[in-house]
């Protein structure tokens, strides 16, 4: 399958990428290409210009910054999975990165690409939401920091504006316990439902594929804050959440799965 025709340019650095993206209002950044290229092959996306940023090595890094770990947006899933700094300070992220797609996908796909794509069915955005990560966007007028809970806006929609590029993801250290539960039927499938839970001060719980974007479970978190038991909190996990039905699961089944997986995640964290 061939994508529709498009123009292609390579960015030399972040400033050059920003200049090139602003030259065409239907332009898209191309990183690892493992969300965008499949959409283009199905002709669900037909950008007129691709600005390839995949070779900007300046955006591929994991750095210990004291209170937080800074991850360059072009860090591949494979490198997140194997980062010693992340394994020591934010162990849920290497674990979740290792559950994205398959090894070939992880050799190309990037954490920034996954986050900027903003798919509610992706693993990493929900994990970053549970971690209270901060997204750093760079535009022609400078940088701005966006808390994860304000970043994901809706179906494939984020707070990034068309003339901004996601350059860094900052993840707080201090995880006391964590769990990630991904339910799918076959190897390499997307999660039918996933639950990311992180204990760092309070307990944060986020869902994969329970809505058009990754979602925090305010029902579960609120109950835990008031001293509810794991069973009680898990039962309230889907309060206010109305998941979609599709070929894999009805909305009712997703609600059931989310409660079961939340309970298992919380139990695993209590160890």
């Amino acid at each position: 399958m061939y994508p529709a025709k498009f123009e292609y340019v390579r960015a030399l650095d972040v400033a050059d990428a920003l200049a090139k993206i602003s030259s065409d209002e239907d332009a898209k950044f191309l990183a690892g290409g493992h969300s965008l290229v499949p959409l283009m092959k199905f002709r669900l996306a037909t950008p007129s210009l691709l600005v390839d940023i995949s070779q900007l090595q300046e955006l591929a890094y994991v750095k210990d910054e004291g209170d937080y770990v800074a991850i360059g947006a072009l860090t591949r899933h494979h490198d997140v999975e194997r980062s010693g700094i992340l394994q020591s300070h934010v162990p849920i992220l290497p674990h979740v990165a290792g559950m994205v797609g398959d090894p070939q996908v992880r050799h190309r796909g990037t954490i920034g690409g996954s986050v900027a794509h903003g798919d509610g069915a992706s693993d990493l955005p929900a994990a970053l939401l549970a971690l209270d990560a901060t997204m750093v966007a760079t535009g022609s007028v400078g940088q701005r920091e966006i808390p994860a809970k304000n970043f994901f806006k809706g179906f494939l929609e984020t707070d990034l504006s068309p003339d901004e590029i996601l350059t860094e993801i900052r993840v707080p250290k201090g995880t006391k316990a964590w769990s990630y539960k991904k339910f799918n039927r076959r190897a390499q499938d997307w999660a039918i439902v996933g639950v990311a839970a992180v204990k760092n001060g309070s307990t944060k719980v986020a869902f994969v594929n329970m809505g058009s974007s990754p979602l925090r479970s305010t029902g579960c978190e609120g109950a835990l804050n008031k001293g509810a038991s794991i069973t009680e909190a898990a039962e309230l996990a889907t309060e206010g959440i109305d998941p979609p039905s599709d070929l894999n699961a009805t909305s009712e089944f997703r609600i059931h799965l989310a409660k079961v997986l939340t309970r298992r995640a919380l139990e695993e964290m209590e160890g």
Partner: protein
């Protein structure tokens, strides 16, 4: 747009449309048809090749993204005199293929897996090959073949 890359140590330079997929560059521009197109949606792994030493699905990479890259395909594994690579020999000896369609991708994904690990057991091989589908063998003999080759290449359980 001009793109140049090395495939199995040989330089290729062609003028291609930006939308040309790497797998078509390999098969049609370089004439190396050992790499197959299966699902064309990055699920089945039949198009797996190594790009700068790591397995990738060449149906989901644009040829222009492989500018200056080193690509290795199934044709680049055997010695010039025809002596098979340990992985190819193991697939043959363990009956790790039937129709053979998935085999080039399986072998290249296995090579990447072996190169990335210092030890491999059955579970690690099964998980490491989750991006490659086979509809004939039931996988058991593929796993045996990869473990045999890994052992021979110095990566043990």
């Amino acid at each position: 747009m001009k793109v140049s890359m090395k495939i199995n140590g040989v330089d290729y330079e062609k003028d291609v449309e930006p939308r040309r997929l790497l797998v078509h560059f390999i098969r049609e521009d370089a004439g190396l048809t050992g790499t197959n197109v299966g699902c064309d949606t990055s699920s089945c792994g039949a198009c797996t090749v190594l790009m700068n030493g790591e397995s990738i699905k060449s149906c989901t990479v644009l040829a222009v993204q492989a500018e200056a890259a080193e690509i290795q395909t199934i044709e680049g594994l055997a010695e010039p005199d025809g002596t098979l690579h340990p992985l190819q020999r193991a697939f043959q000896e363990c009956h790790g293929l039937q129709c053979g369609y998935c085999t080039p991708g399986m072998v290249m994904a296995s090579l990447s897996l072996i190169k990335e690990n210092t030890s491999l057991d059955e579970q690690a091989v099964r998980r490491g090959l989750e991006g490659n589908l086979c509809r004939c063998t039931g996988y058991h003999n593929i796993i045996k073949a990869v473990l045999q080759a890994a052992d021979e290449m110095g990566v043990k359980a």
